[in-house]
């Protein structure tokens, strides 16, 4: 982010007034929709609260129950971790491969790019429900095609070992979102570098590892952070596809929070308990970002650092 600030404004006073006028809406929004719920949910995490009667302060009791009693908590942490470990590398790898593929000049490359991005545009609810049916073991498209090709079929979402990989497959159908960002990054790599490498007689692999990868590493870092935080918050897919099952195999933290706090057909919600889970998730996300940022200097390339 090297930016030039030639002739930055002269009249600081009027700038300040104008600037605060311009950012007033998000400041209000931040206070009401971000800061307030955050503080409030921290308080609720320390209470027993069903949303109907006043919250009762119980100290760290919710956390104690979470870590020592609740049979669903550790499995849901495990499921969340499994999802992240499975999804993030695949999404980045496939996204980059697809971007490199679409960064070549061929007739029809625009069609491929557009179609690869298409699933990202469609409503998540619509595509996920469609995939639920595609993965139906008896009448779904997936097994029909596999059977026609004489390949082994699977019970997909209904098998404890395949359920999470199946969810990841559905998520990867939207890999076009990752692709498009890498594509932009690839197009920003100066072509002189490739020309110089060509002159030096470098092969495609060394070009990839010596030029492409280092040049896009800042974007890679951003992608790792964004994809990981998003993956930690995966909700729609398990909610619609499996409801967390079979067993706890896809009962990710977000789903568990939602079920405790909001849903659970006709049951009294446990809002305080759910808030405690929210804070566990929150701390997880912060930890992931902090760790990624801390170790990023080991593998990202930068010519100068932003302010």
């Amino acid at each position: 982010m090297n930016r030039s600030r030639v002739g930055m404004s002269r009249s600081a006073g009027s700038d300040t007034r104008a600037a605060y006028l311009f950012i007033l809406p998000p400041i209000i929004g931040f206070s009401v929709f971000v800061a307030y719920p955050l503080v409030r949910s921290f308080y609720l995490a320390l209470t027993k609260y069903n949303g109907l009667t006043d919250p009762v302060f119980v100290g760290l009791d919710n956390f104690r129950r979470l870590f020592t009693v609740d049979p669903a908590f550790w499995p849901s942490l495990k499921a969340t971790g499994y999802l992240v470990v499975l999804y993030v590398p695949l999404s980045l790898g496939l996204g980059l491969a697809l971007a490199m593929f679409c960064n070549q000049r061929f007739a029809g490359v625009r069609i491929v790019r557009t179609l690869a991005y298409l699933p990202v545009v469609l409503p998540a609810i619509a595509t996920i429900t469609l995939w639920k049916f595609i993965l139906n073991p008896q009448v779904g498209l997936a097994n029909t095609i596999l059977a026609k090709l004489h390949l082994p079929t699977s019970s997909w979402l209904q098998s404890p070992s395949m359920s999470m990989p199946s969810i990841v497959i559905v998520m990867l159908w939207g890999v076009g979102g990752t692709m498009i960002i890498f594509l932009a990054a690839l197009q920003a790599v100066p072509t002189e570098l490739y020309e110089a490498a060509k002159v030096d007689g470098a092969g495609p692999y060394s070009v990839f590892f010596r030029i492409t990868l280092p040049m896009i590493s800042p974007i890679m870092l951003l992608q790792v952070i964004l994809q990981t935080t998003a993956a930690l918050q995966t909700f729609n897919q398990p909610k619609i596809l499996t409801g967390g099952g079979p067993g706890f195999s896809t009962n990710v933290l977000m789903l568990s929070i939602y079920n405790n706090g909001f849903s659970n057909l006709g049951r009294i919600p446990q809002l305080g308990y759910a808030s405690a889970q929210v804070w566990v998730l929150f701390i997880l996300i912060i930890a992931v970002i902090a760790l990624t940022a801390k170790f990023s200097s080991l593998w990202t390339y930068s010519d100068n650092t932003p302010d």
């Binding site: 311009f22 971000v34 000049r105 409503p123 619509a126 595609i134 995966t234 909700f235």
Partner: protein, 308 residues
């Protein structure tokens, strides 16, 4: 964080902004792959993306019992075009379409307007607290969406917003999607400052510079944002489900859930569902194809405005 969590794939495009500071050049001819293998791969990619959608239409054309034929047939042998009428009728499609359109239009307007204004100030004006606010806004996009769900529900209910569209629209007008602010700021950073200076010499104030100089220059940015905001609002299911009581206020996403049966073992009407699903997907599809010049290509070349 006021929006409920979306899947990573739909949030990801916004991250593009990080790439925008780099100058973009068209790639030169590089063909590490042979032509035949390139086209074979291209065909495979297209098939993976398109075949599920074609299959959806095929299901939409089948009768409700033919869907479960054994062994499954890929194509319908009888075409039930009526599903495309009866399916939508079952959920009062026109009414819900109108609701979705109004809710989405207002959220898009609010989201884009607020983000552009804030992005402009954060990128081009010097003021105390600039960095702090920027980091607060951007940092808030890393918060889990559920943090807000419980306290905000209580808040909306206490101020009488329950069963109104306000919880679905108002947050957008207050920077509800911090990613847009991030995107807008990155885009504004890439515009040369000489343009502001020139406008100021002509006697233009900040508001005029913003509306008549900056907005036209940043068209690809706000079109991209508008599409993303459209998607987010059009797709949103949980917020309207939770906040809207009266069925005449529902958006389409909630109506779609009416097809799913709550009873164990009772099979939903999949052919109606798939037929209606196609209609539900059409508006974002049309919008995407209409604006894809700005979107896919525009996204890729956003940074090139530096050279203009």
């Amino acid at each position: 964080m006021t929006t409920l969590p979306t899947d990573p794939s739909t949030e990801a495009p916004l991250a593009l902004a990080g790439a925008l500071d780099e100058p973009v050049r068209r790639p030169k001819k590089r063909r590490p792959l042979g032509t035949a293998s390139w086209y074979a791969t291209a065909l495979f990619i297209c098939a993976v993306m398109v075949v599920p959608l074609l299959w959806m239409i095929a299901i939409g054309l089948k009768s409700r019992t033919a869907v479960f034929e054994v062994p499954p047939k890929l194509l319908p042998h009888e075409f039930h075009w009526g599903n495309f009428i009866k399916g939508p009728q079952a959920i009062h499609f026109p009414r819900l379409l109108l609701n979705s359109t109004i809710i989405t239009a207002l959220s898009v307007l609010g989201g884009v307007m607020t983000a552009m204004m804030a992005g402009y100030a954060l990128a081009r004006l010097r003021f105390p607290g600039r960095k702090m606010w920027f980091y607060l806004f951007v940092g808030s996009m890393l918060l889990p969406g559920v943090v807000g769900l419980i306290p905000l529900f209580q808040l909306y209910k206490s101020i009488g917003w329950y069963d109104t569209w306000l919880p679905l629209i108002v947050p957008a007008f207050f920077g509800g999607n911090p990613l847009f602010i991030f995107l807008a700021r990155q885009y504004f950073l890439a515009i040369p400052y000489s343009i502001d200076e020139a406008a100021k010499i002509d006697g233009a104030g900040h508001f005029r510079i913003f509306t008549s100089v900056m907005l036209p220059l940043t068209k690809p940015a706000w079109i991209t944002m508008a599409i993303l905001a459209f998607q987010a609002s059009w797709n949103d299911f949980l917020n309207p489900l939770v906040y809207l009581y009266s069925s005449d206020k529902w958006p389409l996403s909630v109506g779609m859930a009416s097809f799913i049966s709550p009873f164990a073992g009772q099979t939903p009407d999949w052919s109606y569902y798939m037929a209606t699903n196609l209609l539900y997907m059409l508006p974002p599809l049309i919008l995407f194809f209409a604006a894809q010049r700005y979107f896919i290509q525009g996204l890729g070349s956003l940074g090139s405005t530096t050279q203009k």
